[in-house]
Amino acid sequence: MILLEVILLAALIVCAAATVLSRKLLPSVVIFMAYSSIMAIAWIFMRSPDLAIAEAAIGAGVTTVLFIATLRRVNALKEGERDG
């Protein structure tokens, strides 16, 4: 069990490092989503289902959607309009 937890935590660190180091934005947002999902699993290991649900819905779900919406808008802006 501890082995599983250690692997999980190592994956967490790897994901965090990969998010920060990846050169493109969209991949790093997607890796961040994976990071949040792993975090949700870590919280299940701590017997906190409330947190796991909240993290999966808010961290991995909503935050990622907002990031992607922003990136998409930025790409749309890159092609056309901008003010001032």
Binding site: P49, D50, I53, A54, A57, V62, V65, A69
Partner: protein, 292 residues
């Protein structure tokens, strides 16, 4: 004159920029030669400072890691049952008495909405303030306010997406509502349920096609719903704070823990919080993709 403030360090001001970026910057505005020379000298200065600060930051950070890691070893062991100061009377109280006192089977919900209700109200205000700030930034302008389609008009609706979402959406909404309304009996609650509801609304909005001007829930309506829910929260909790501090015995019937109609104020508060979270999520998404 080099600027020694932490701000420069934070933003990496005028770092020697790599090829692409310096191309952007040089074409931005031609400079007279003297100014260029001065600027280059300035830039050299700042680059050295920048490097110094980067090294400083890394060193500070490493020191912080080591200090924290050593500190961690002095803390009570993870999961310890003995010698653990966190297992004191307070936790005992929550676990032994909260079920009968608040009527909620979920201890976390009891703590969030009954014992530490003020924190949760503050948190709901944070969500509301963030929504208001997003609206302030992206929505209100001097011109008449309007949303624009996220994609060029008349682009055909994606049929696969539309059919899938039409099938899925009722289940998502039902799941979210279940989670919000059962926050006091099972894990979940208003925040997670509200986020799921907001996600479902986003999906619905995407599937309806992004060439429309109107959205599934306009920011004004979302704000109105949020204000009503926050007001309700404030009134309910204000009365309960007042009654509690003055020793009056005012509370809703607590009911049997585990039953849907139990938990006194927790169920209405969960619904309020769910609406607030969902409103924040959908408003932020709508404005990110469609604001003029």
């Amino acid at each position: 004159m080099a600027d020694f403030s932490l701000r420069k360090w934070l933003d990496g001001e005028q770092r020697l920029l790599d090829g692409e970026r310096s191309a952007v910057l040089d074409t931005a505005r031609p400079k007279p030669p003297q100014a260029v020379r001065r600027r280059q000298r300035h830039r050299g200065y700042l680059r050295r400072w920048r490097r110094f600060y980067a090294v400083l930051a890394v060193v500070t950070c490493l020191m912080l890691i080591v200090a924290l890691a050593v500190t961690v070893l002095y803390l009570p062991r993870y999961g310890a049952v003995e010698d653990n100061p966190t297992l004191n009377g307070v936790v005992e109280y929550y676990l032994r008495r909260s079920a009968e006192e608040t009527g909620a089977a979920n201890f976390v919900a009891a703590v969030v909405f009954a014992y530490r209700a003020m924190d949760t109200f503050g948190e709901a205000v944070v969500i509301f303030a963030a929504t208001a700030a997003v609206i302030y930034l992206l929505y209100i302008t001097d011109r008449p306010v309007q949303l624009r389609p996220a994609r060029a008009p008349k682009s055909p609706r994606n049929q696969i997406l539309w059919q899938t979402v039409r099938l899925l959406f009722p289940y998502i909404a039902m799941y979210a509502l279940y989670m919000i309304c059962n926050g006091h009996t099972s894990p979940g609650g208003g925040f997670a349920g509200g986020a799921i509801l907001g996600g479902g609304l986003i999906l619905w909005d995407v599937a309806l096609g992004e060439d429309r001007r109107e959205t599934i829930l306009s920011p004004e309506r979302a704000v109105r719903a949020m204000v009503v829910c926050l007001g309700l929260y404030a009134v309910l909790k204000g009365v309960s704070f007042f009654a509690g501090a003055n020793g009056m015995d005012w509370h809703l019937p607590t009911g049997a823990p585990g039953h849907i109609l139990s938990g006194g104020l927790i169920l209405p508060l969960n619904i309020c919080v769910g609406v607030i979270t969902a409103g924040c999520v959908i408003t932020a998404y709508v404005l990110f993709t469609r604001a003029e």
